[in-house]
Every structure is written in C-alpha cells, then in structure tokens.
Amino acid sequence: MTTNEKVLIKVENLQKSFEDNKVLDGISTEIRQGEVVAVIGPSGSGKSTFLRSLNRLEIPTGGKIYFEGVDITAPETDIDHVRQKIGMVFQQFNLFPHKTVKENILLAPVTLKLMTPEEAEKKAMELLTRVGLPDKADAYPGSLSGGQKQRIAIARALAMNPDVMLFDEPTSALDPEMVGEVLEIMKELAESGMTMVVVTHEMGFAREVATRVVFINEGNIQEENTPQEFFANPQHPRLREFLSKVL
C-alpha cells in the first residue's frame, strides 16, 4: 500500500564496526512515508545499532544514509538540524529528571526557537492530552510510573513535529502491565499516519500495527515482508528458529 509513497530514509550498504566487532554488515533498505516498520531480531543482532544509525547517534563506518534526500553520513551535514525532524524514543525513556513533564516537552522547541513559549505550552498540553496525562504537566519524572514516563517521552519527541519516529525497544524496560498503554499510544500514532521504525520484541505489535516487518540477524536484513507473510510464511531458517522461540 505504501510503495508509491515518497522515500523518507534510504539506507545503502550500511556498515558499523566497534573495533574488530562487525555489528552491521551492509544493510540496504528504504523507509517510505507512512510506513510502520517493525525491526525484530535476536539480541546482539545489530537492530538497535541500525536504528541509532538512522539519526547518527551511532556513526556508521561505511555506507550511506539519506534522510529526505540529504546524506546524513556526510560530515558536513548539519546533523542537529536533521535530528529536529527525526523523533526518537529510548528503552530507558531518558526523560530529563530536573525538569517537569511540561518542561521536558517544551525544552527543545523553545530552545531551538521553533515555537514561542506560548505556542509550545499549548502544544505540550495538546500532546499530554493525546497521551492521556494532562494532569501530570507539573509533575517531575521521578514521580511517574515507567509506562507514564514512556508516554511522556513519546509526547516530547512529537513536540518537534518530526517526519519520522524511531523507537528503540520502547517497552522492554517496562513492567508487563504497563506495556499495553505504551503500545496503545504507538498504535494511535501509526493510525494517524506517522512514519515509524520500531525495534521491538512485541510480536503482537509487529503483526497488528506494522506495515512491514524486518528481521535483522548477524548485522544484516535476512528477511522482510508484510506482517501476514512474515509470520505465516517465514523463509529463512534462522527466522523460523527465532519465531519458534518467541511466538
């Protein structure tokens, strides 16, 4: 359904090594507007490194990544500017503990002068309502549950009006009973048309919400397909083995 949409991110032969350890071994793929790509794979397969390369939190050792046509691997690219359009949500939330919930959301848009404090304040309250936490505006992150923290982290990323959202195992650090509330927000976000790349262990989410599922193993994409085909008809033996363990 999305094949005619414009390409947001184009990855060409992406490589990343940490000293002698080759983590990414020539990944190539495209992320199109409106796609929800679930990235799954065993731990240590390189899926987080792949995701973190997309906004250059990891600096690739080889290959190219284009975001909206701009080569973000080029050293002369103003990466800070590119990152304004790429939202990121982390496994450990990484909320700023010394700022209130509202200040967490306001900080970047106001500091970068993308909004006036009044506009940002209004936007923050809208986003807090969207993630169901308007009453926590003046709370500090330390007083929130893990699920609430992650919902705030999503709101914080959305405040920048990103073109794509990256999720790095957003529910892996949560108590099981809080996973649902975060996935629900992500599902709503997907339905609103947001382009998303989600590294996850939540097979239910991959199956129901993703438009494409990518299996990364040993630093490469070994299989990618629509969720229906991916789960019903896995081709690669390693993927079959993986799915037999996690499903």
């Binding site: 906004n55 939190l57 800070d80 500017h81 990152r83 304004q84 790429i86 939202g87 990121m88 982390f90 450990q92 990484n94 909320l95 700023f96 503990p97 010394h98 700022k99 209130t100 900080l107 970047a108 500091t111 970068l112 500090y140 992150p141 330390g142 007083s143 982290a153 914080r156 990323a157 920048m160």
Partner: protein
C-alpha cells in the same frame, strides 16, 4: 563584671584591636568570595574542556593545558603558590593584596573544583545526552540545559566541602602582608602576651563563617532536590 569588661576591651577594643578583627573578617570574607567566583568559573571551564575531550577527542591542545594546570596546582603547596603570585607574578604590579590573594586562591581552588565538576558530568547517564541530541539540540545546548544542571546537583555536597576547605585555607594569607582573621589573632596575641583568647576567638570566627556557609548551601541543596520524589 568590671573585670570581664576590662578583659573584653583588652582583646577586642584596646590598641586598635577592634579594627584588626574587623579588617581580618573582611579580608577573609573578601578573599574567599573572590576565590570562590574565580574557582567555580575556572573549574567549570576546565571540567568542560576535559570532559569534551574525553567524549569526543576534540580540544586536544586545551586538554593538555588543563592537565598541566591541574598537575602543578594539585602537586604543589598552596602556600608556595600564594607566595609565588605575590612575590613573582604580581611583584611589579600595584595590586591590592586582597585581590592578589583572591586570584591566587581562586586559581588554586579551580583545580579542585574542576575535578569535582568533571566527576559530576561523568555521573550523568549518557542517555541524557542522547535524548538531548536526538531532539536536535547541539552539544553546547545539551551540556548547558541538561547535563550541567544535573551534574551540579550531584556534586553539590563535594562543592560545599571544597568551599569550606577554601575558606579555612585563606588563613595563610597573612604571609603576604594582609590582615585576615588569623593574622588579627596573632597581632592581638603579640599585644596582650596571651595566645588562648585570640586564637580561640579566631577559631570561633571561622566556625561561624563555615556554619553560615553550610546553612545557605544546605538550603540550596534542598531546593535542588525538589525534583526527587
């Protein structure tokens, strides 16, 4: 009663004693405040250079300068440093001794403050930097708005300790011909031929100053802790 009054006058009023004590208090306070300001600014600067270099490999030359500075200041007695500033660096410049003392102690304290701040910056989780940078903030904005406020809170107890040490260390400033609390005590002692009361008084003055400092810093610490629940 009359005897007590007489004794008080002997140590705190007669022969210009009042002025010595007041001058001493003023000098100790001024030198400490000047040194604190220089020390905190210099320390923060050095800490930023050091941690930027550690994290990114940049600022190589400045990092070498910072390390030489730290090695020399921490490796030599502050007494020698003070005398060096007074008799060598500022020997031909007409500068108030209090200012010279403040500068010397500030440069001395900066070395210790730098290591305190550096440990504070290192203590902030690297996820905080990643969160800031992923929102499009540049490294300076991330440092200023996200890392330093948290680092400052983490190191406040160590910083308070350094301030207390600094306040007491200024007791050697009498060696460059300035009347601070300690010098005032020795002057009174030489006039009255009694050591106990002047020295005890000086000790009490220092103690009171330290307690005032501790009180205000404790208040600041509690205010910064309001985000903890």
């Amino acid at each position: 009663m009359e005897n007590l009054q007489h004794q008080f006058n002997r140590y705190f009023v007669d022969n210009g004693a009042t002025e010595w004590w007041l001058t001493g208090l003023k000098t100790t306070l001024l030198v400490t405040v000047i040194a604190l300001c220089i020390g905190v600014v210099l320390g923060l600067l050095i800490a930023l250079i050091r941690s930027t270099h550690e994290q990114t490999g940049k600022l190589k030359l400045l990092n070498i300068v910072a390390r030489v500075y730290l090695t020399i200041i921490r490796g030599t007695p502050s007494m020698i440093q003070i005398l060096f500033f007074y008799s060598v660096i500022f020997a031909t410049i007409n500068l108030n001794n209090i200012v010279i003392g403040g500068i010397a102690f500030g440069i001395n304290s900066g070395a210790y403050v730098a290591e305190i701040f550096r440990s504070g910056i290192m203590s902030v989780d690297k996820g905080q930097t990643e969160a800031g940078r992923s929102l499009g903030l540049n490294s300076a904005q991330t440092m200023r708005l996200i890392i330093i406020p948290q680092a400052f809170k983490n190191v406040l107890p160590a910083l308070i300790n350094e301030m207390i040490v600094l306040l007491k260390e200024t007791a050697i400033i009498g060696y460059i011909g300035t009347i601070d609390i300690t010098k005032a005590a020795t002057l009174v002692q030489s006039r009255t031929y009694d050591a106990l009361v002047p020295l005890l008084s000086a000790a009490i003055f220092y103690l009171i100053l330290v307690m005032i400092l501790t009180y205000f810093m404790g208040k600041l610490e509690r205010r910064l802790r309001k985000s903890d629940h």
